[in-house]
Symmetry: C2
Protein backbone atom coordinates (compact mmCIF):
# COMPACT_ATOMS: atom_id res chain seq x y z
CA UNK A 1 0.00 0.00 0.00
CA UNK A 2 1.37 3.43 -0.91
CA UNK A 3 2.04 5.86 1.86
CA UNK A 4 -0.37 8.38 0.36
CA UNK A 5 -3.07 5.77 0.68
CA UNK A 6 -2.01 5.05 4.23
CA UNK A 7 -2.62 8.67 5.04
CA UNK A 8 -5.97 8.64 3.32
CA UNK A 9 -6.91 5.45 5.08
CA UNK A 10 -6.11 6.91 8.49
CA UNK A 11 -8.50 9.74 7.77
CA UNK A 12 -11.26 7.70 6.15
CA UNK A 13 -11.19 4.99 8.78
CA UNK A 14 -10.97 6.67 12.14
CA UNK A 15 -11.66 10.38 12.00
CA UNK A 16 -14.64 12.18 13.45
CA UNK A 17 -16.17 14.00 10.49
CA UNK A 18 -17.94 17.33 10.27
CA UNK A 19 -21.15 17.35 12.35
CA UNK A 20 -20.57 13.85 13.70
CA UNK A 21 -21.20 13.51 17.43
CA UNK A 22 -19.01 11.41 19.71
CA UNK A 23 -19.69 10.43 23.29
CA UNK A 24 -17.42 8.75 25.76
CA UNK A 25 -16.80 5.21 24.51
CA UNK A 26 -18.06 2.44 26.79
CA UNK A 27 -15.49 1.88 29.53
CA UNK A 28 -17.00 -0.74 31.80
CA UNK A 29 -18.66 -3.71 30.19
CA UNK A 30 -21.80 -5.58 31.15
CA UNK A 31 -21.13 -8.90 29.40
CA UNK A 32 -18.25 -10.70 27.73
CA UNK A 33 -17.93 -12.30 24.32
CA UNK A 34 -15.80 -15.35 23.59
CA UNK A 35 -14.66 -15.53 19.98
CA UNK A 36 -15.55 -18.95 18.55
CA UNK A 37 -13.62 -18.80 15.30
CA UNK A 38 -12.47 -16.52 12.53
CA UNK A 39 -13.74 -15.43 9.12
CA UNK A 40 -11.44 -15.51 6.11
CA UNK A 41 -12.38 -13.11 3.30
CA UNK A 42 -10.59 -11.48 0.33
CA UNK A 43 -10.58 -8.05 2.01
CA UNK A 44 -7.62 -6.87 4.08
CA UNK A 45 -8.55 -3.18 4.30
CA UNK A 46 -11.85 -1.67 5.38
CA UNK A 47 -11.54 0.58 2.31
CA UNK A 48 -11.89 -2.48 0.06
CA UNK A 49 -14.73 -4.31 1.83
CA UNK A 50 -18.19 -4.36 0.25
CA UNK A 51 -20.55 -1.99 2.02
CA UNK A 52 -23.00 -4.90 2.10
CA UNK A 53 -22.56 -8.57 1.25
CA UNK A 54 -24.02 -9.88 -2.00
CA UNK A 55 -25.46 -13.30 -2.81
CA UNK A 56 -23.15 -13.65 -5.78
CA UNK A 57 -20.10 -12.40 -3.88
CA UNK A 58 -16.87 -14.36 -3.45
CA UNK A 59 -16.77 -17.50 -1.37
CA UNK A 60 -15.56 -16.78 2.17
CA UNK A 61 -14.50 -19.29 4.79
CA UNK A 62 -15.90 -19.35 8.32
CA UNK A 63 -13.51 -21.34 10.51
CA UNK A 64 -14.96 -22.59 13.80
CA UNK A 65 -12.57 -23.29 16.68
CA UNK A 66 -12.70 -26.03 19.29
CA UNK A 67 -14.59 -26.82 21.44
CA UNK A 68 -17.36 -25.52 19.18
CA UNK A 69 -16.90 -27.65 16.05
CA UNK A 70 -19.44 -30.24 17.23
CA UNK A 71 -21.98 -27.41 17.46
CA UNK A 72 -22.03 -27.34 13.63
CA UNK A 73 -23.71 -30.75 13.41
CA UNK A 74 -26.90 -30.41 11.40
CA UNK A 75 -26.10 -26.99 9.94
CA UNK A 76 -25.76 -28.46 6.44
CA UNK A 77 -29.57 -28.74 6.37
CA UNK A 78 -29.87 -24.97 6.04
CA UNK A 79 -29.23 -23.11 2.82
CA UNK A 80 -29.01 -19.75 4.54
CA UNK A 81 -27.25 -19.00 7.80
CA UNK A 82 -27.16 -15.94 9.99
CA UNK A 83 -23.62 -14.98 10.97
CA UNK A 84 -22.67 -12.68 13.86
CA UNK A 85 -19.15 -11.25 13.94
CA UNK A 86 -17.13 -8.72 15.87
CA UNK A 87 -16.15 -5.59 13.94
CA UNK A 88 -12.84 -5.42 15.70
CA UNK A 89 -11.50 -2.28 14.00
CA UNK A 90 -14.50 -0.07 14.67
CA UNK A 91 -14.66 2.85 17.02
CA UNK A 92 -17.61 2.66 19.43
CA UNK A 93 -18.29 6.24 20.44
CA UNK A 94 -20.33 7.89 17.66
CA UNK A 95 -24.01 8.65 18.17
CA UNK A 96 -24.38 10.58 14.89
CA UNK A 97 -22.46 9.71 11.73
CA UNK A 98 -21.92 11.18 8.29
CA UNK A 99 -21.40 8.18 5.98
CA UNK A 100 -20.98 10.37 2.90
CA UNK A 101 -18.78 12.86 4.80
CA UNK A 102 -20.93 15.68 3.46
CA UNK A 103 -21.99 17.30 6.72
CA UNK A 104 -25.33 15.43 6.76
CA UNK A 105 -25.61 13.08 9.72
CA UNK A 106 -27.92 10.35 10.98
CA UNK A 107 -28.18 8.53 14.25
CA UNK A 108 -26.05 5.40 14.51
CA UNK A 109 -29.11 3.17 14.97
CA UNK A 110 -30.53 4.47 11.67
CA UNK A 111 -27.39 3.20 9.90
CA UNK A 112 -25.79 -0.19 9.32
CA UNK A 113 -22.32 1.34 9.71
CA UNK A 114 -19.72 -0.82 11.50
CA UNK A 115 -19.25 2.03 13.99
CA UNK A 116 -21.67 1.37 16.87
CA UNK A 117 -21.53 1.06 20.66
CA UNK A 118 -21.40 -2.73 20.33
CA UNK A 119 -19.78 -3.33 16.94
CA UNK A 120 -21.49 -6.59 15.96
CA UNK A 121 -22.08 -7.31 12.29
CA UNK A 122 -24.88 -9.58 11.14
CA UNK A 123 -25.10 -11.20 7.72
CA UNK A 124 -27.39 -13.69 6.02
CA UNK A 125 -25.15 -15.92 3.92
CA UNK A 126 -25.68 -18.77 1.50
CA UNK A 127 -24.01 -22.01 2.58
CA UNK A 128 -21.99 -23.44 -0.31
CA UNK A 129 -20.62 -26.40 1.64
CA UNK A 130 -19.13 -27.51 4.92
CA UNK A 131 -15.52 -28.69 5.11
CA UNK A 132 -15.05 -30.16 8.59
CA UNK A 133 -14.71 -27.24 11.00
CA UNK A 134 -15.23 -24.67 8.21
CA UNK A 135 -18.23 -23.34 6.29
CA UNK A 136 -17.81 -21.96 2.79
CA UNK A 137 -20.37 -19.22 2.25
CA UNK A 138 -21.30 -16.30 0.00
CA UNK A 139 -22.73 -12.98 1.14
CA UNK A 140 -20.20 -11.63 3.63
CA UNK A 141 -18.83 -8.09 3.71
CA UNK A 142 -16.26 -8.20 6.51
CA UNK A 143 -12.49 -7.95 6.79
CA UNK A 144 -10.24 -10.98 6.61
CA UNK A 145 -9.61 -12.35 10.14
CA UNK A 146 -12.82 -10.96 11.57
CA UNK A 147 -13.65 -12.74 14.85
CA UNK A 148 -16.70 -15.01 14.75
CA UNK A 149 -19.36 -14.69 17.47
CA UNK A 150 -22.28 -16.92 16.45
CA UNK A 151 -23.97 -18.93 13.70
CA UNK A 152 -27.72 -19.62 13.51
CA UNK A 153 -30.05 -21.02 10.86
CA UNK A 154 -31.89 -18.27 8.99
CA UNK A 155 -35.07 -17.62 10.99
CA UNK A 156 -37.20 -18.09 7.87
CA UNK A 157 -35.91 -21.64 7.37
CA UNK A 158 -36.04 -22.74 11.00
CA UNK A 159 -38.98 -24.34 12.78
CA UNK A 160 -38.63 -24.58 16.57
CA UNK A 161 -38.26 -28.12 17.91
CA UNK A 162 -39.02 -27.25 21.54
CA UNK A 163 -42.57 -27.83 22.84
CA UNK A 164 -45.05 -24.99 22.28
CA UNK A 165 -45.14 -22.22 24.90
CA UNK A 166 -47.95 -19.81 25.84
CA UNK A 167 -46.27 -16.84 24.14
CA UNK A 168 -46.40 -18.64 20.79
CA UNK A 169 -50.10 -17.87 20.63
CA UNK A 170 -50.12 -14.29 21.97
CA UNK A 171 -51.18 -11.52 19.63
CA UNK A 172 -52.07 -7.93 20.37
CA UNK B 1 -46.20 -19.22 40.39
CA UNK B 2 -46.89 -22.52 42.11
CA UNK B 3 -44.00 -24.30 43.72
CA UNK B 4 -44.61 -27.35 41.54
CA UNK B 5 -44.10 -25.13 38.55
CA UNK B 6 -40.97 -23.67 40.14
CA UNK B 7 -39.54 -27.15 40.32
CA UNK B 8 -40.50 -27.85 36.74
CA UNK B 9 -39.01 -24.55 35.66
CA UNK B 10 -35.68 -25.35 37.31
CA UNK B 11 -35.52 -28.53 35.32
CA UNK B 12 -36.79 -27.15 32.03
CA UNK B 13 -34.61 -24.06 32.13
CA UNK B 14 -31.18 -25.13 33.21
CA UNK B 15 -30.69 -28.88 33.14
CA UNK B 16 -28.44 -30.79 30.79
CA UNK B 17 -30.77 -33.26 29.06
CA UNK B 18 -30.19 -36.80 27.84
CA UNK B 19 -27.55 -36.89 25.08
CA UNK B 20 -26.81 -33.17 25.31
CA UNK B 21 -23.11 -32.31 25.32
CA UNK B 22 -21.62 -29.61 27.51
CA UNK B 23 -18.13 -28.17 27.31
CA UNK B 24 -16.39 -25.81 29.66
CA UNK B 25 -18.20 -22.49 29.47
CA UNK B 26 -16.12 -19.58 28.21
CA UNK B 27 -14.01 -18.24 31.09
CA UNK B 28 -11.88 -15.51 29.60
CA UNK B 29 -13.53 -13.08 27.24
CA UNK B 30 -12.23 -11.49 24.05
CA UNK B 31 -14.49 -8.45 23.86
CA UNK B 32 -16.93 -6.58 26.07
CA UNK B 33 -20.52 -5.53 25.52
CA UNK B 34 -22.06 -2.39 26.97
CA UNK B 35 -25.81 -2.64 27.41
CA UNK B 36 -27.48 0.36 25.75
CA UNK B 37 -31.00 -0.06 27.09
CA UNK B 38 -33.61 -2.58 28.08
CA UNK B 39 -36.53 -4.37 26.43
CA UNK B 40 -39.92 -4.47 28.13
CA UNK B 41 -42.13 -7.40 27.10
CA UNK B 42 -45.15 -9.24 28.59
CA UNK B 43 -43.07 -12.31 29.44
CA UNK B 44 -41.48 -12.74 32.86
CA UNK B 45 -40.60 -16.45 32.60
CA UNK B 46 -38.70 -18.18 29.83
CA UNK B 47 -41.43 -20.83 29.95
CA UNK B 48 -43.97 -18.26 28.72
CA UNK B 49 -41.93 -16.54 25.98
CA UNK B 50 -42.79 -17.22 22.35
CA UNK B 51 -40.29 -19.57 20.74
CA UNK B 52 -40.12 -17.05 17.91
CA UNK B 53 -41.51 -13.53 17.59
CA UNK B 54 -44.54 -12.98 15.37
CA UNK B 55 -45.52 -9.95 13.29
CA UNK B 56 -48.91 -9.78 14.97
CA UNK B 57 -47.48 -10.30 18.46
CA UNK B 58 -47.97 -7.88 21.36
CA UNK B 59 -46.38 -4.45 21.32
CA UNK B 60 -43.09 -4.43 23.21
CA UNK B 61 -41.10 -1.40 24.31
CA UNK B 62 -37.41 -0.95 23.57
CA UNK B 63 -36.00 1.67 25.94
CA UNK B 64 -32.68 3.22 24.91
CA UNK B 65 -30.46 4.69 27.63
CA UNK B 66 -28.27 7.78 27.51
CA UNK B 67 -25.91 8.66 25.92
CA UNK B 68 -27.38 6.64 23.03
CA UNK B 69 -30.81 8.27 22.60
CA UNK B 70 -29.49 10.65 19.91
CA UNK B 71 -28.40 7.59 17.95
CA UNK B 72 -32.10 6.90 17.25
CA UNK B 73 -32.42 9.97 15.03
CA UNK B 74 -33.71 8.88 11.64
CA UNK B 75 -34.83 5.41 12.70
CA UNK B 76 -38.50 6.33 12.18
CA UNK B 77 -37.85 6.07 8.43
CA UNK B 78 -37.61 2.29 8.67
CA UNK B 79 -40.62 0.05 9.03
CA UNK B 80 -38.55 -2.93 10.10
CA UNK B 81 -35.62 -2.89 12.50
CA UNK B 82 -33.10 -5.53 13.46
CA UNK B 83 -32.72 -5.83 17.23
CA UNK B 84 -29.81 -7.48 19.04
CA UNK B 85 -30.23 -8.40 22.70
CA UNK B 86 -28.42 -10.30 25.39
CA UNK B 87 -30.06 -13.54 26.52
CA UNK B 88 -28.97 -12.97 30.07
CA UNK B 89 -30.47 -16.13 31.60
CA UNK B 90 -28.92 -18.58 29.14
CA UNK B 91 -26.22 -21.09 29.88
CA UNK B 92 -23.32 -20.91 27.41
CA UNK B 93 -21.73 -24.34 27.49
CA UNK B 94 -23.82 -26.67 25.29
CA UNK B 95 -22.49 -27.83 21.92
CA UNK B 96 -25.35 -30.28 21.30
CA UNK B 97 -28.91 -29.70 22.47
CA UNK B 98 -32.17 -31.62 22.63
CA UNK B 99 -34.92 -28.99 22.26
CA UNK B 100 -37.69 -31.58 22.48
CA UNK B 101 -35.94 -33.41 25.34
CA UNK B 102 -36.47 -36.68 23.47
CA UNK B 103 -32.86 -37.87 23.28
CA UNK B 104 -32.40 -36.49 19.75
CA UNK B 105 -29.78 -33.73 19.61
CA UNK B 106 -28.48 -31.17 17.14
CA UNK B 107 -25.50 -28.90 17.17
CA UNK B 108 -26.07 -25.50 18.78
CA UNK B 109 -25.31 -23.66 15.52
CA UNK B 110 -28.07 -25.65 13.79
CA UNK B 111 -30.59 -24.29 16.32
CA UNK B 112 -31.92 -20.86 17.24
CA UNK B 113 -32.02 -21.83 20.92
CA UNK B 114 -31.09 -19.07 23.41
CA UNK B 115 -28.38 -21.39 24.75
CA UNK B 116 -25.19 -20.60 22.81
CA UNK B 117 -21.58 -19.66 23.55
CA UNK B 118 -22.44 -16.00 23.01
CA UNK B 119 -26.13 -15.73 23.88
CA UNK B 120 -27.18 -12.95 21.53
CA UNK B 121 -30.71 -12.90 20.19
CA UNK B 122 -31.59 -11.24 16.91
CA UNK B 123 -35.08 -10.25 15.83
CA UNK B 124 -36.63 -8.40 12.91
CA UNK B 125 -39.38 -6.25 14.36
CA UNK B 126 -42.02 -3.92 12.96
CA UNK B 127 -41.74 -0.37 14.25
CA UNK B 128 -45.13 0.84 15.48
CA UNK B 129 -43.90 4.23 16.67
CA UNK B 130 -41.16 6.05 18.51
CA UNK B 131 -41.83 7.71 21.87
CA UNK B 132 -38.76 9.76 22.70
CA UNK B 133 -36.09 7.35 23.90
CA UNK B 134 -38.34 4.32 23.33
CA UNK B 135 -39.45 2.32 20.31
CA UNK B 136 -42.75 0.44 20.32
CA UNK B 137 -42.40 -2.66 18.17
CA UNK B 138 -44.01 -6.01 17.35
CA UNK B 139 -42.17 -9.24 16.70
CA UNK B 140 -40.08 -9.85 19.81
CA UNK B 141 -39.79 -13.10 21.72
CA UNK B 142 -37.60 -12.19 24.68
CA UNK B 143 -38.04 -11.89 28.43
CA UNK B 144 -39.05 -8.65 30.11
CA UNK B 145 -35.94 -6.66 31.13
CA UNK B 146 -33.72 -8.23 28.48
CA UNK B 147 -30.61 -6.05 27.96
CA UNK B 148 -30.41 -4.26 24.61
CA UNK B 149 -27.21 -4.48 22.55
CA UNK B 150 -27.92 -2.87 19.18
CA UNK B 151 -30.53 -1.57 16.73
CA UNK B 152 -30.07 -1.44 12.94
CA UNK B 153 -32.37 -0.81 9.98
CA UNK B 154 -33.47 -4.06 8.32
CA UNK B 155 -30.80 -4.81 5.70
CA UNK B 156 -33.46 -5.12 2.99
CA UNK B 157 -34.69 -1.56 3.59
CA UNK B 158 -31.28 0.08 3.94
CA UNK B 159 -29.19 1.54 1.13
CA UNK B 160 -25.60 2.44 2.08
CA UNK B 161 -24.84 6.16 2.11
CA UNK B 162 -21.06 5.79 2.14
CA UNK B 163 -19.16 6.11 -1.16
CA UNK B 164 -18.83 2.90 -3.21
CA UNK B 165 -15.91 0.61 -2.39
CA UNK B 166 -14.12 -1.96 -4.56
CA UNK B 167 -15.69 -4.92 -2.74
CA UNK B 168 -19.16 -3.72 -3.75
CA UNK B 169 -18.48 -5.01 -7.25
CA UNK B 170 -16.71 -8.29 -6.47
CA UNK B 171 -18.41 -11.51 -7.46
CA UNK B 172 -17.04 -15.02 -7.57
Amino acid sequence: MESSRDGLAMVRLNEVRRNEVAVEAPQAFDAGLAFIGVIRTPWTSRLDCPRQGRDDGPICRIEVSEPWVAALDGIEAFERIEVLYWLHESRRDLVRQSPANDGATRGTFALRSPVRPNPIGTALVTLVRREGPALLVRGLDCLDMTPLIDLKPDRCLFTPLAPPQPGDFETG
